[in-house]
Amino acid sequence: MAKLRYAEALNTALREEMTRDPSVFLFGEDIGTYGGVFKVSKGLMEEFGEIRVRDTPISEQALTAMAVTAAMTGTRPVLEIMYADFLPLSLDALINQASIYEYIWKEQVQMPFVLRTQGGGGAGAGAQHSKALDALVAHIPGLQVVAPVTPSDARGLLKAAIRDPRPVIFLEHKLLYNTRGEVDLEDEGLIEIGKARTVTEGTDVSIFATSKMVIEAEKAATLLAADGISAEVIDLRSLRPLDAAAIQLSVAKTNHAVVVNEGWKFCGYAAEISATIMELCFDDLDAPVARVTLPDMPVPYSQPLEDAVLPNAEKIAAAARATLG
């Protein structure tokens, strides 16, 4: 076992896949000479050359469209979009191009590209560099969306995403890059897209969380344990396809559900999970599903303001207590 930082685990995955498959290539802003603003592609341009690791101009709209068609024609591009807040620039390529072609063209093409990006707040980056726009991409049929939390999952899911025949939106979080965790480099470590991860087992309330919110949910579980409440924390990990079976199993056990997502509440990712629980687990529920999200507002800059709006362990614990009555 090696202890790796999240960014190092991603770097390892990219290196492993580029070594294994010469059709894998990376492109994006700052990823080459500089090694990426979060150093995820550090050293890869030196190792694989400028054709396969390419610094680009600031042209997200065309870059995303190019990833789609490069993937259609024999390569496996991994495009880095520096901030999830820039995803609106990518949306035509995702919604009107990547989403439609396999179906519309009657399975004549597949598009094995990965769009890596990172979102979320807590770093004082302000309203245009702090959002979790998970719902924006998870809304789109034809796309798969994953959001690993641990370094081991980061490596395993990125390798799986690169090998997958269909588009994968790979959501990272700016505050995860320096977190450390065990990674078994002896093992291929592939993680199947579409499977949730049980972080802590519990019997009183299920907390379904995504990305960095999983860490907050773990802290909330510790707070709740002090009150004698047994919380089960599930890392959804694969936002689409969703592991509905894991959700059903957990709610059948606890009869209470809290959904935590760092995105907006209205029409947000937590709303989808909440509706799914209502559809699939209605008879198991003893209380309405609770949501803990960013309020429907911009992420402010100054620390006390940002702290006030971001979901955290205390808010999650409070929601869990409320749902238990």
Binding site: I51, A70, A93, Q97, Y103, L143
Partner: protein, 323 residues
């Protein structure tokens, strides 16, 4: 002259232009009878661009198109009945009726594909060229687009990157003077839009878009350069849209005298005139008649073909295990 089409190439272009014209006319008539679905964007008068620009490409080369792509489809060698059946929403269409007339794709022919988001075919072809460069093959990607698409931001982003990285892509501007219902002079201050490509250091040419031979020569030179790894080229083909934006266009904004002037310069007649003196009229008449019969047969067969039945697939299941 270097890069000139052979007489056989010229006859083939003449034949394909007739296929496209008769196809457009057939769909125009069907539309008036209420027998088509959705808008159809005809390219009458512009056939020389799509047919001649693609004439020197192989099936391994990629082409992306627009919402007005029938000449591009036929030029790239896509089966006429497959096109007609797709436009009619038949199960025998190239995409089983899922795509419709604006989104036809035939991967085996390198036609991938029509695109009804104006400008989107431009980064699409640029991405294919990027793929070619990464794989180190000698395929060329081409995109044909209009003056309307030339006003989009992705036009500039794409041309910049293609020039920067010397990507094997050829940009063919089918300048028909109209983006939607608005004349190009009221969409931008630049009369020759290729001057913008030149600003990125891309070699450019401006040709008479109604002259198939001129289009062929200019594009073939750019295709050769791209294939040799010398980077992108840009050919601006000046032509004119005879019909409206689409079959749902009520018109009233194009000057009838201008249309009449352009109709005197019918690309099919220009191609025919270039062949006369080299090939007997009687032989060319046979080519024309056979092309007309091919369209009639394709349309009749497509009209008799069955409509598709909806099938469950990965995209139709909520909470699908696949997607």
């Amino acid at each position: 002259m270097k890069n000139s089409p052979s007489l056989d190439d010229q006859v083939e272009m003449y034949r394909k232009m007739i296929l496209v014209r008769r196809l457009e006319e057939a769909f125009g008539a069907l539309s008036k009878e209420g027998k088509t679905r959705g808008p159809i964007h005809r390219c009458d008068g512009q056939e020389a661009v799509g047919v001649a620009a693609t004439a020197m490409l192989g099936a391994d080369d990629y082409l992306t198109s627009t919402h007005r792509g029938h000449a591009h489809y036929v030029g790239k060698g896509v089966d006429l009945h497959g096109i007609a059946a797709e436009i009619l929403g038949r199960s025998t269409g190239l995409c089983g009726g899922r795509a419709g007339h604006m989104l036809v794709a035939d991967v085996e022919k390198g036609m991938i594909g029509g695109n009804a988001i104006v400008g989107a075919g431009i980064p699409a072809a640029t991405g294919m060229a990027l793929s070619n460069q990464v794989l180190g093959n000698d395929r060329v990607a081409m995109t044909i687009f209009g003056d309307g698409a030339s006003q989009t931001g992705i036009w500039h982003e794409s041309l910049n990157m293609a020039a920067l990285w010397k990507l094997p892509v050829v940009y063919v501007l089918e300048h028909n003077e109209y983006g939607l219902t608005v004349h190009s002079s009221r969409q931008g201050p630049t009369e020759d839009l290729s001057t913008r490509a030149a600003a990125y250091g891309i070699p450019t040419a401006i040709v008479d878009g109604n002259d198939a031979i001129a289009v062929y020569r200019a594009v073939a030179e750019m295709v050769d350069r791209a294939r040799r790894g010398e980077g992108p080229g840009f050919v601006e083909c000046k032509t004119y849209r005879w019909e409206g934006f689409s079959t749902s266009d009520m018109g009233g904004y194009q000057d009838p005298e201008t249309i009449a002037e352009w109709k005197k310069r019918d690309p099919i007649e220009i191609a025919r005139a270039a062949l006369s003196g080299h090939i007997e009229d009687a032989k060319l008449d046979v080519v024309r008649t056979q092309a007309e019969e091919e369209v009639q047969a394709a349309m009749a067969r497509a009209l008799a073909d069955p409509l598709p039945e909806f099938e469950e697939c990965a995209y139709t299941r909520p909470y699908s295990e696949v997607l």
